[in-house]
């Protein structure tokens, strides 16, 4: 299975990637919303899940999520938000837009692994 990790922070992408290493999934990194679409194009949409940051330059994670849900090809890919946006109303906005899960930063490694396991 392939998974996209979208976050503008390379450190954060690597942290998430490290946590997933034991699961043997193929990781694709994306630094922005635009890159998510580029990577989906390259991989023909065959992606099992997208871990999505909210605050990214250019297209934000939320905008990207909304566009994905509107897109016939990609609307069924589960999107899991991982973000510092942590207020309740932010979480519900993302949920309403179609996010399947939500993890707020900061998180411990255990919390991350638990989140990953419960969502894929």
């Amino acid at each position: 299975m392939k998974v996209i990790i979208a976050d503008d922070s390379k450190v954060m992408r690597n942290i998430i990637q490290n946590a997933m290493r034991p699961m043997g999934t193929e990781i694709i990194q994306a630094g922005s919303g635009q890159e998510v679409f580029e990577q989906l194009e390259i991989h023909g949409g065959k992606v099992g899940a997208i871990f999505m940051d909210w605050n990214m330059p250019g297209m934000t994670g939320l905008e990207c999520l909304k566009l994905l849900k509107k897109n016939e090809k990609y609307k069924d890919i589960p999107v899991l938000m991982i973000s510092t946006e942590s207020e309740d109303d932010k979480v519900s906005i993302a949920r309403e837009a179609g996010a399947k899960g939500y993890l707020t930063k900061p998180f411990t490694n255990e919390e991350l692994i638990k989140f990953i396991n419960s969502s894929i």
């Binding site: 490290n18 605050n55 973000s83 207020e87 707020t104 930063k105 900061p106 411990t108």
Partner: protein, 286 residues
């Protein structure tokens, strides 16, 4: 109260000026740079410019570093007739550059001003400072398993940065202001390595810049959650990274800038906040 002033390699004219106004309550210790051991209980550091001191800027930088982000004024006395810009001294970490030719009354008042003790936060300032303190400790504990203790807070009206790498984030929408975190290189490297679960030598400048930005992002993000429904609630923007030391990022007469000093083992870092509450915001408890 700390009443020790250290005069480093100062000539008799400077020492005389200091003795003239300091009185009995304050002890003046005259030292040479290489004999400085401890800045802990020091109220003020005095240096003197001179022809034979090519290392003065380097000394200022070292002293500023040794102050561990605390608000210890470093005053440079100039004795040379012709003066270039005082900018290099300020950039290196000096608080004030005074000329021996300046009116004695001015010298006395400026030094007196710097000797007055720092104030503690106002009640309304405590409201937001407490949250930032709590969340700074929590974020570093969570992501890097780092135990961090809050040391002290003081206020400034310049947004100055002395450190190697800083993450800066603008606070907008509702309350407005700026949040910054500043590290010296070794601590930043340690923290990012621990965050990523790898060795420190694998951490390069790019990762440090990136990681410091992400840390300030997380501190801002968790803190704004605490302020939901209050005038201090804000939104965060994308972080910037400032490299190097001695930057003066802005000046605010109206809103003081709170400088929070933290310690992690034997290393220190600072969080700076300038936060103007939303004038139309709901008050605490509605």
């Amino acid at each position: 109260m700390l009443n020790r002033i250290i005069a480093i390699d100062c000539s008799p004219p400077v020492i005389n000026v200091l003795n003239d106004f300091l009185g009995d309550t304050i002890t003046l210790e005259s030292l040479s740079f290489k004999n400085i051991r401890e800045l802990k209980d020091c109220r003020m550091i005095i240096l003197q410019e001179g022809d034979e001191k090519p290392d003065l800027l380097k000394q200022i930088r070292k002293l500023r570093y040794a102050c561990h982000f605390r608000n210890i004024p470093i005053i440079v006395f100039r004795t040379m007739e012709n003066k270039g810009s005082m900018e290099p001294f300020i950039t290196a970490g000096a608080t004030e550059v005074i000329s021996l030719q300046d009116p004695p009354a001015a010298i006395r008042q400026i030094l007196s001003g710097h000797l007055i003790p720092n104030r503690q936060p106002l009640k309304e300032e405590t409201e937001y400072i407490d949250s930032f303190v709590k969340n700074t400790c929590a974020v570093l504990k969570t992501v890097a398993s780092l135990d961090v203790s809050f040391e002290e807070v003081y206020f400034d009206n310049d947004f100055k940065i002395f450190g190697d790498v800083s993450g800066l984030i603008a606070l907008t929408g509702g309350a407005e202001g700026i949040l910054g975190i500043t590290f010296y290189w070794p601590l930043a490297q340690t923290i990012i390595a621990r965050m990523m679960g790898t060795d420190e030598d694998k951490i390069n400048a790019e990762l440090i810049h990136d990681g410091v930005a992400e840390i300030v992002n997380m501190i801002g993000g968790t803190t704004k959650k605490d302020f939901v429904g209050q005038p201090y609630h804000f939104e965060i923007s994308l972080p910037s990274v400032i490299v190097g030391s001695g930057h003066q990022l802005g000046h605010s007469d109206k809103m003081p800038i709170a400088v929070l000093v933290f310690r992690a083992d034997s290393q220190y870092f600072a969080v700076q906040i300038c936060l103007k509450p939303d004038p139309n915001g709901k008050t605490n408890g509605k």
